[in-house]
Symmetry: C2
Subunit: 452 residues, 2 copies
């Protein structure tokens, strides 16, 4: 028979078993952290009606989307988790209680140009808090705490949550009479890290058409750095000139004020006036998160406050705040940087049971007992030489191999080999189990991400 | 602005938060049970190249498939998890160790006619053990144990794992000289439950063209029922006439022999000679699982042994055994039957913290401490009346509400209301936490499925 060469599409992540185990750990940490903050899991369809998904319309999104006909239906694959959330909240409004807090970890699809480290199918891990009409600022103050707990639980220490407020930016540009140019200016300021302040100044004047004095004002503003209190105090100098600015500053002060109570250390947080996060969607606090030793990766967790989640579906005002982790890309980058903890178990089983008798019942009973005790156990019964069986355990990095022969059965013990140390014991089941459990606890101690 | 009416496509399950929590519980049970048997999680793309996915070609599958062009690429959404597994194993053969044991819980797509309880996007939860060239019969004997543990962990007691062996059927038909008609006969026998033995007899003669004697032989064969040992002993009467039959009987004997060691009670297992599970794919043991009180649902977990997983992709012989749970349909049916345990918590949080002071720091610190202790906590800070806040907790079925006012702060206590009993305590944090924890343990005690 002619064979079809098996392949996986480029831009689609398909992991081998060991890295998949690491990915699963990361997902489990996200699920449990998000749950601890009172977010409920959602799972919306991957396919939606194109007209629903593209209600907002326009732009790059539409070009990248996977869209197709099935029968009479014009369908599309979701390209983020925000549009499906907007649809969900508008559709199920009467069945939800607000604020509505949900998390969703799911695959999204974008037909981008194939490129190393870029994915066409990738996981996003989103949380959002949606208010009905209003949403208290404390929700915005809580987000850094969720980011901090999530990345700490993953094992990161050297990261910084950078926060700004769009009202401060909008108010500041209004003060300067630059509201109409604010989009261009923000795009230019966004290049600060890459091209430096001098070139930003040139661009502001040449490309955005700012005067010398205006460019100076902007450079002075984005040069405001330092500790949180230093930045806040510098911002107070602008107070009283513009209502929107003042409101933004007050919101930022609230976010900073409650940091300690929310358990976020100062060193993991910075007010950063250069952050804007896109142009029209966000309206209040905005967030980016960078790894201090890997600034080249860019933000690994971003989001912000918005005023109108579902304006394309409903007249109701549904303000919200949310963040998103691009999980597939983060996982890929961590792997590239050697930051995935290879010391953590990635084997499919904790124990491989090798029966050494022709009647398999005692070995099967042993495997059943181990499983009953919560130990991930594989029974190996293939007709192979002993060496091949041990090499199988070795290749899969299964930490313990248990042998059960007539001698052991007669003595009421099991032989157990620790595959890391090579140490072999011959002990009753309970003692073997205790030894395995404490060994596994030890092996599972680390975090999934390690910093060098 | 003109609004787009939000809608979810028909045939796509989109759950409200409370049932979604129940679905998550079921998935978590599947993940942990499969893991305990030494299966490693896999996650393959939802989209594959059409030529890869349809290498086998033909039939209803191709009509139902979601297939589309993107640029030059001819793409399709997976319609099961078996074809992607075959591709995965053939593609990554050199990186895998055999037997390769994987589980995958993922969405698959079939553009079936929309119908109540039928889904176009649905979860399958699959496990498979793949051998390289050979695969020991013990793997087939282990499957009932996995099914038993999975359904027991979900909360079911009254279910039966029905097992047959295709070699027994093929051998039996060969003995009768009916090998060529075996497909038609099996399809007819499959209707036994619905139409009864008399009509099966008529169909066998009229539609399959069997003689009176042949039809008698078949009815006699499928009438073999009783305890496992009774069925096996009746089958022994046919022994020695056909090699394939004898091998199948020996395999079935092995499966039955090790049941007890694998922890499967007799009452949850039955040899059932009427089960065939399709025509050409399965070659050895086949499995179906039925809910005794709901036979109308059909099999909720099915599968079997096959000899050639990836024959369309590779010359290598890759035999395997696997089972699949149609999770979305199972969940739907359980809901329809009122079998989902509504006593289990489905709230997004265990505790709602209501600050009663203008400085929120103490309440935020309390929420941080509760989260640190692993309690799912929501901080409620919206400007609403007290009654509206309590009604929010009530609607979401959040079990505990904690109030923190100046009095409590001065006294170093927190006020905590048990929303089920109405009981309210004013105790130090640690005592409140202990009370909440024991209450939650109590509330989480039941299983996700309840039998009436």
């Amino acid at each position: 028979m002619a064979k079809m060469t098996p392949r996986t599409l480029s831009g689609f992540m398909e992991l081998l078993p060991a890295p998949q185990q690491q990915m699963e750990r990361m997902m489990e940490i996200l699920r449990s952290t998000y749950s601890r903050y009172g977010f409920t899991p959602l799972d919306t369809p991957v396919i939606e009606a194109s007209e629903v998904l593209l209600a907002k319309g326009g732009g790059d999104t539409e070009k990248q989307i996977y869209r197709f006909q099935k029968g009479d239906a014009d369908l599309a694959l979701r390209f983020d988790l925000t549009v499906p959330l907007a649809k969900y909240v508008a559709l199920h409004y009467n069945d939800l209680s607000f604020p509505f807090r949900r998390y969703q970890i799911g695959k999204v699809y974008r037909g981008e140009r194939a490129q190393r480290g870029r994915f066409r199918e990738f996981y996003q891990a989103d949380i959002d808090v949606i208010g009905d009409g209003k949403l208290d600022i404390t929700n915005e103050a809580e987000i850094p705490s969720i980011i901090y707990q999530t990345f700490t639980a993953l094992g990161l220490r050297r990261f910084q949550i950078r926060v700004n407020n769009r009202k401060i930016l909008n108010g500041f540009y209004a003060m300067q009479g630059l509201t109409e140019k604010s989009g261009d200016i923000m795009r230019t300021v966004d290049k600060l890290d890459k091209i430096g302040p001098d070139k930003v100044r040139v661009c502001l004047m040449d490309d955005c058409g700012l005067t010398d004095a205006q460019a100076d004002e902007i450079l002075k503003f984005i040069a405001i750095t330092g500790s949180n209190s230093e930045v806040l105090s510098a911002l107070e100098d602008y107070q009283g000139k513009n209502e929107v600015f003042d409101q933004g500053l007050s919101e930022l002060q609230t976010v900073v004020k409650y940091l300690a109570a929310f358990g976020v250390p100062e060193e993991n947080f910075a007010v950063d006036l250069t952050i804007a996060r896109g142009l029209d969607y966000y309206t209040g606090t905005v967030y980016e998160t960078t790894l201090l030793d890997h600034p080249e990766i860019g933000s690994v967790c971003s989001g912000g406050r918005y005023d109108n989640l579902a304006e394309y579906y409903t007249d109701r005002q549904l303000p919200g705040v949310g963040i998103s982790i691009g999980l597939t890309r983060l996982f890929y980058v961590l792997g590239e940087q050697g930051m995935l903890n290879s010391a953590l178990p990635t084997s499919p089983a904790d124990v491989l049971v090798l029966p050494m008798t022709s009647d398999l019942a005692p070995a099967i009973q042993l495997a059943t007992d181990l499983r009953g005790a919560g130990v991930r156990t594989q029974l190996y019964t293939e007709a192979k030489k002993f060496k091949a069986k041990m090499s199988y355990a070795d290749k899969l990095a299964i930490p313990y191999v248990i042998f059960l022969g007539d001698d052991e059965i007669a003595q009421g013990v099991v032989s157990c080999k620790d595959m890391t140390t090579g140490e072999q014991t011959k002990l009753p089941f309970d003692e073997t189990l205790a030894r395995i459990r404490s060994g596994l606890a030890q092996r599972n101690k680390g975090c999934v991400i390690v910093e060098q």
